[in-house]
């Protein structure tokens, strides 16, 4: 440890001196020690992590590099902090959206899991009852009902989107495809067209044919919105696809279905699964179409959060949000593993 510190001072001794000087200036200007602590944190950490530069690097270059690191680190913190900050907040014992003094001094009494219990209890007829607690929770708790709706709609629509999207991607990546550019841009357009416009159009049309405020209507809308993601991921997997494999299989007498089942599908499966996950998460996160098309029966988690944020803001929303963040971490891990597998299958990277 001392060795490491010695090295640090040896390489960046001057820089640390300047930092100390700047901190003193900050103290003199603001008159508080706290501000200096904040200043040291923001500018000290990137300096600590700055790597050794070539000996011939000028002071100007070192300084530019350092400022660049400070900016990049701040942007990364800006990106990740909001996602992480809601987790401790969701364990707040008080019904506030902010850190209480007790939480800051790590008082165990200031933390509680009451908002996580509230996810289960909210809407239940008798949260304290022992008899029939499970069925009461399963059928009446608002968030549980919303979660059931969300997962049902997302599963069905992701399945349909994956089947239709994979078929279309197979067609689009064939060299003989006529009007490829036009059809691709049509199939991707649900991602580009503002959601309000899509949802408005669907609201009118689905109402006129009587599927507004039904699961069918919401699922159709979510398939539409999920399809572009499937197309993009599956086409990406197919871009490195060796067409001679198909010809070889046909040469050996395999028909179209067997070729697809035994040759194409194993190779594009990672792309299909990540496409399906994209479609799944799109549906799980979608709220505009749900706002326009769904009725009370089809309330999903995002819909419930939307009204929660608008009407009675309570840390229950933060608890739900934390659970969703944990879920996205899991999904992200799965996707990363799939990506690696896909690259390995296509021989793009050694490991």
């Amino acid at each position: 440890m001392t060795n490491f510190l010695q090295k640090q001072i040896q390489i960046k001794g001057k820089a640390y001196m300047y930092l100390a000087l700047a901190t003193v200036v900050v103290v003199l200007l603001t008159g508080t020690i706290k501000a200096a602590v904040g200043f040291l944190l923001v500018f000290g950490i990137p300096l600590y992590f700055m790597e050794k530069m070539q000996d011939y690097a000028t002071t100007g270059e070192r300084f530019t590099r350092y400022i660049f690191l400070v900016i990049s680190a701040s942007v990364l913190v800006f990106l990740i902090a909001p996602v992480l900050i809601i987790m401790p907040l969701s364990f707040n014992a008080e019904p506030y959206f902010t850190f209480t003094d007790g939480m800051l001094s790590f008082d165990a009494a200031a933390y509680s899991t009451r908002w996580y219990l509230d996810i289960l209890h909210n809407g239940m007829k008798a949260p304290e009852a022992i008899d029939g607690w499970w069925s009461d929770m399963w059928n009446n708790a608002q968030w549980i009902r919303a979660a059931r709706n969300s997962f049902f709609i997302a599963t069905v629509s992701a399945t349909i989107a994956t089947v239709l999207g994979t078929l279309a991607a197979l067609g689009l990546s064939r060299p003989e495809m006529p009007q490829r550019a036009l059809i691709t841009s049509l199939l991707i357009s649900p991602m580009i067209v503002p959601l309000v416009i899509t949802a408005t159009g669907m609201f009118f049309f689905y109402s006129s044919i009587g599927i507004a405020q039904t699961y069918t209507g919401v699922i159709l809308a979510h398939v539409t919105l999920g399809v572009p993601f499937v197309i993009i991921t599956v086409t990406a997997t197919l871009s490195g696809f060796d067409m001679s494999l198909v010809r070889a299989s046909q040469n050996m007498g395999a028909n179209g279905w067997i070729t697809f089942r035994r040759i194409i599908m194993p190779l594009i499966l990672p792309g299909m699964i990540s496409g399906a996950l994209f479609a799944f998460i799109t549906s799980l996160d979608e709220v505009v179409a749900v706002l326009f098309i769904a009725g009370v029966e089809q309330r999903t988690i995002p819909r419930q959060m939307f009204s929660g944020i608008r009407e009675q803001i309570s840390p229950t929303i933060l608890a739900v949000a934390s659970i969703l963040v944990v879920m996205s971490v899991c999904l992200l891990t799965v996707l990363e593993l799939l990506r690696r597998r896909s690259e390995k299958l296509r021989g793009l990277s050694p490991g």
Binding site: V196, F204, V325
Partner: protein, 421 residues
Amino acid sequence: MTTANSSIDQADAMPLKEKLAKTTAIQRRRAFLLTLPLVLFLLISFVFPIGQMLFNSIHNNKVSGVVPDFAVAIQSWDGQGLPSEEVFEIFVKDLAKAKKVREVGRTVGNMATRINYEMPGSRSLFTKTARKVINIKQGPYKEALIKINEKWANPQVWLTLQRASHDISPAFYIAAMDLKYNEVGEVVQADELYQIYLKNFIKTLWLAALITFICVLLAYPVAYLLSVLPLRQSNLLMIMVLLPFWTSLLVRTTAWIAILQTEGVINDLLVYFGVIGEDGRIQMIYNQTGTVIAMVHILLPFMILPLYSVMKTIQPTYMRAALSMGSKPFNAYRRVYLPQTIPGLAAGTLLVFILAIGYYITPALVGGQDGLLISNLIAYHIQKSLNWSLGAALGAMLLVVVLALYWVYNRLIGIDKLRFG
């Protein structure tokens, strides 16, 4: 022997070309057939509904559907003075008939609302008259109607009725562009108080541009850092970009409410570090600032990812070459590095701008009053004020801008180049 040979040659040579054409045609058809189910699906679930909505923006039969005979009769009026006695008679009879209708969309109330859009304050004229018009048993109808309400002697009412009797009319686009018809039926600028749509449209474009610009500023260094770091470290930092990208939009918006509100984390920190006093807490949410901050956070990954994928392909040797030949670092960056990142910049900029101008959820939740964008106005007209044609007209204007940008994106970058992660 020779004849047989040549005939075989001929028999083979001719069909070969045809055969090729035939096989290509089959293959083209096969490729197309694979996309057909999805194309049909999207045509029904997506393209047709939007087309129908666009049709709604120019089509409105709230007058001709309620007083059909009158809608035909009024067309013969030349717009001078008041319409003739016969037109009045048809109007009174149609109105009396319409009073009994209960079908949604065909009531006198629907027509009154339609006219009210163009003549604010005229709604009660129709509903009240409709109640009394049953008592008019015989002519002269003109005098009888004016006796019920003297506003019927105002030619402007009849001009508006005549205009609104057309099922197809540009009236809602005129309203959407902050214009109106004046007393004699000319298109003029609307009153200051009613000029909201064009202003909001410009504000939306301006905020989207601002958000895109901030995204470029923030994304550029991060994308550069990710592209030059060794794979192991850059993968780790990439998680910091991808995790928010994968997190629910509502979760992120909620987080920003927790952070930015007056009792929130940022204000607490500022107070703690003594930058502001306890009573000087800054209002950072439920206004434009909140919208911009939250939207930058949500759209930033859409800028970082395309920039990163372009920067990854740039050879570091170019910069070293420029530097070794005596270029100043800034000049080398400006003339060698920056031009190579233009494709990524263009892709990110267009994508973020396109997504930003159509944004709805975040402004609706953290925008307060002045942070609302055009999408929120469209949703307001569709869900609350129920002026569907005006909402559709605003939507059509937004759609034109978005599709134009989409076309540019396709021409410059190609949508099939889009990748996630």
